[in-house]
């Protein structure tokens, strides 16, 4: 690691005032310290935000839940409110990383984790995300783990988070604080597609801090399912993952949410496909139709064509299992 100075601000405003191009916030450190060891990140100043009062999980007056940015992934997945009302989120978090990492990783940090593209990690190779304008070796190189949707000529990386796929399906809202005060960003707008500026993963400004994630009150607890397909049964990043959440009344789908992980630069949601599911009786034919519609725009690379059929099967299975599930008691392992 390159030497750096260490600061531990006591207030939000102090933290934000210390931010700058050569500073980085650190929370759990599970991504940042790793990238610093690889010299991908070389901050001159490290701002430890773990002293800030952002560790609560509370009900909102609107019937939703507000999650502090410093709540650990483990505490979030195993919180009674989350287990009972947002089992989809608990399932997604518990499918990610390891118990040790989930104890360290924070809610805010999870959103901001960088891609696992091998070239991004290897400072001996070009990479547009790491060094804008240097090129994208993944396009013609090792791209088995890469995107099939929403990629650009400049970058075909995927966002690696599991938690974010569930947050996208649940239409969470990201609360941030910056020099100009507080603002809120709908989850669908938080992460971005690479376009010709793949160095930017999301809409957060350098001097903005995530303070919390708000979950709206939503009727998906009974019928939801997170499916993660990976190279081994546990402790591996997703090849493809699917978060499916349905509200069903007398066999008819009232509302549907469908988000995919491992396939794009951001958790992938397609409102047209969700609309297509709504108001119709749940059936395998309908789910198959939805999967085909969502994947119509897929553009696989040389090594990841398998992700298209994998995603198709995972979507059909996640929707079917969400439909069949009854988590209404909120009991999750």
């Amino acid at each position: 690691m390159t030497p750096f100075s260490y600061h531990k601000p006591a207030s939000l405003d102090e933290a934000v005032s210390l931010a700058g191009p050569s500073s980085r916030f650190i929370a759990g450190g599970t991504n940042l310290v790793d990238l610093m060891k690889e010299n991908v990140e070389r901050p001159e100043h490290l701002i430890d935000i773990t002293g800030l009062a952002l560790k609560a999980i509370e009900e909102t007056p609107e019937g939703g839940v507000m999650i502090g940015a410093l709540v650990s992934n483990a505490d979030l997945a195993w919180h009674p409110l989350v287990e009972a009302r947002y089992p989809l989120l608990a399932q997604a978090i518990l499918a990610g990383a390891s118990p040790q990492l989930r104890n360290m990783a924070s809610t805010g940090g999870n959103l901001l984790q960088r891609t696992r593209c091998y070239y991004f990690y290897d400072t001996g190779t070009p990479c547009n995300k790491r060094e804008p304008g240097s090129g994208c070796p993944a396009r013609q190189g090792l791209n088995r783990m890469h995107a099939i949707l929403g990629a650009s000529d400049d970058c075909v990386a995927t966002h690696p988070s599991d938690m974010c796929v569930a947050l996208a399906a649940l239409a969470a809202v990201v609360h941030v604080h910056g020099p100009a005060g507080a603002r809120q960003i709908p989850f669908a707008d938080f992460h971005r597609l690479p376009g010709d500026t793949p160095q930017r993963d999301n809409q957060l400004a350098q001097d903005e801090l995530i303070t919390g994630i708000e979950l709206p009150a939503e009727p998906f607890a009974a019928h939801c399912r997170y499916i993660k397909v990976r190279d081994r049964a546990s402790y591996a990043f997703a090849l493809v993952s699917v978060a499916a959440a349905l509200q069903i009344e007398k066999g008819v789908i009232r509302e549907a949410r469908l988000a995919l992980g491992g396939v794009a630069h951001k958790p992938w949601r397609d409102p047209a496909v969700e609309a297509l599911l709504q108001g119709k009786p749940a059936s395998t034919e309908l789910f198959t139709h939805a999967a085909d519609a969502l994947l119509q725009a897929a553009k696989p690379l040389a090594q990841n064509g398998f992700k298209v059929s994998l995603a198709r099967n995972a979507i059909i299975r996640a929707l079917s299992e969400a439909c069949a599930a009854d988590n209404s008691l909120g009991e999750m392992q």
Binding site: P3, I26, T30, L46, D48, W78, S98, P99, Q100, S234
Partner: protein, 168 residues
């Protein structure tokens, strides 16, 4: 990393409790908890496998929770209560998890074992493992190159009911 005078100025005071002993230390901000334990404190029981959060060999307990020491900056442990493999036994009496690893022959080379045992104690504290499948899933953050997995699961299963505070 060799220290230059400039780097010396970046050193930070650090207080924490390690295996019940209060410590006052001075560390560089870039020193990981793992390097602090092994290089500065001679607590070499905690192992370095990958140094990237991928193997679990460096697992220790911070305030009762299992974490990867290799991805933890020591400066960020101010005020923490740390327990490493060296701190689990009660004098000459092994911790039930250590004893179970011996009874069940849950290791071959032993390199992953300190991390496995600390991780298993963390698992017991969490109280979320109810059967062998749960144990397998919740021990998946600890790799064993010797493949002692089946005996590790048996050891954790044996020790769980013996650990105070662990919900069966």
């Amino acid at each position: 990393m060799t220290a230059t005078p400039d780097q010396g100025a970046l050193q930070r005071p650090l207080q924490m409790t390690i295996n019940g002993e209060h410590k006052t230390l001075t560390v560089h901000p870039w020193t990981t908890l793992l390097d602090l334990l092994r290089e500065q404190l001679d607590l070499a029981g905690t192992k370095k496998g990958c140094d990237h959060g991928q193997c679990g060999a460096c697992t220790v307990l911070r305030d009762g929770k299992r974490i990867n020491a290799c991805l933890t900056l020591a400066v960020m442990c101010e005020g923490a209560e740390l327990v490493t493999i060296e701190g689990l036994a009660d004098g000459d009496r092994l911790h039930p998890m250590q004893q179970a690893f011996i009874t069940q022959d849950a290791f071959q080379c032993g390199y992953c074992t300190p991390g496995q045992i600390c991780s298993a104690v963390g698992l017991a504290n969490e109280g979320r493992a109810h059967n062998r499948d749960d144990i397998r899933e919740l021990m998946s953050g600890n790799l064993c190159r010797c493949g002692a997995y089946s005996n590790i699961v048996a050891a954790v299963e044996e020790a769980l009911p013996l650990i105070k505070g662990a919900r069966p």
